[in-house]
């Protein structure tokens, strides 16, 4: 377990190092996630040496949100005064995300399938 934590925390620290060295305003943890995926892909990190700890973190991640959520008690006034803008903007943009993601996937997929079909037809007619 210590080794697994060591690998995960090292990726996190490296991610923060990258952010600090590059002087950019970006979450170091996300760089750390990409470093983890890259390390596994290149075989620098073995899946066995992170799998258990990462599964444990991911399956319990809901707990780690709770303190952030409790901070809501500091913002009751803002939420009360801007309740409807928050609700409407959230619902509308959630619909937009659902539709835009689904439509784009289906559209791009169809364009690429058509291209493949056309190529096959060309190859057959050349024979």
């Amino acid at each position: 377990m210590i080794k697994q934590l060591f690998v995960i925390l090292s990726c996190l620290a490296l991610g923060h190092l990258v952010v600090w060295a590059a002087g950019i305003d970006f979450p170091g943890s996300i760089i750390g996630m990409l470093l983890m995926a890259a390390g596994l892909q290149m075989g620098i990190i073995k899946l066995d040496s992170v799998k258990e700890a990462s599964d444990a973190l991911i399956s319990n991640m809901a707990l780690f949100f709770v303190p952030n959520g409790v901070a809501l008690m500091l913002y009751f006034d803002i939420i009360k005064s801007e309740f409807w803008p928050i609700v409407i903007a959230t619902l509308v943009s959630t619909l937009v995300v659902l539709a835009a993601t689904g439509w784009t996937y289906q559209l791009v997929r169809r364009i690429r399938l058509n291209r493949v079909l056309k190529m096959r037809r060309l190859q057959q007619s050349n024979r």
Binding site: L40, L47, P67, L98
Partner: protein, 229 residues
Amino acid sequence: MGFLQNKFFIIALTVAVFYGARLLQQRTGKSWGNPILISIVVLISFLKITGVSYDTYYEGGKIIDFWLQPTIVALGVPLFEQLKAIRQRLWPILLSQVAGCVFGIVACVYVAKLCGASEAIILSLAAKSVTMPIAIEVTNTLGGIPALTAAIVVFVGLFGNLVGFGLLKLFGVGDAKAQGLSLGAASHALGTARAWERGKIWGTYASLGIILSGIVTAVLAPLLIRVIM
């Protein structure tokens, strides 16, 4: 009542409340009984009743909070495990995530502005679709209120979990992979939980949607906000 401010008590209490809330959900199987939501309500009520301040609570809470960042790093493991699936359909997957992120943020900002929301609120809403740890990090970067983002992320997740499939059908999104990606991108882990209930393809693509929309949002949100605010 000094012991109520002891940070070890606060940590134990938070874990206990969460554990109880999760047991409750497992027993009842209702998605509205979201353990995060119940824990937040119970803990805020506790603090209000006992008069313990949030700053005092956070002395213990930050120890739990710390684990969010290692958890984001841990998401690199499922990302690696799904690289093969991503590579097979690289362009449809990537472009759909970028489209969902861009149109979602633009719609969110403009609708909020139209309804007269203040800047702090708009900045807190921008990252609301993505998985909680990333949403909180992005809101921090943007200068919004992470707590508000946290609450809205849960709300969005419940919404996607309850009506996501119905809406996708309404929009004419019938492809299983497209449905999975959309649910993951729009309503993170809660939408993905619903996707897994339907089947493996939906679940796998929803998991992909969570991670990729998180990365895309972390990269694009600060740029987009600078342009449209």
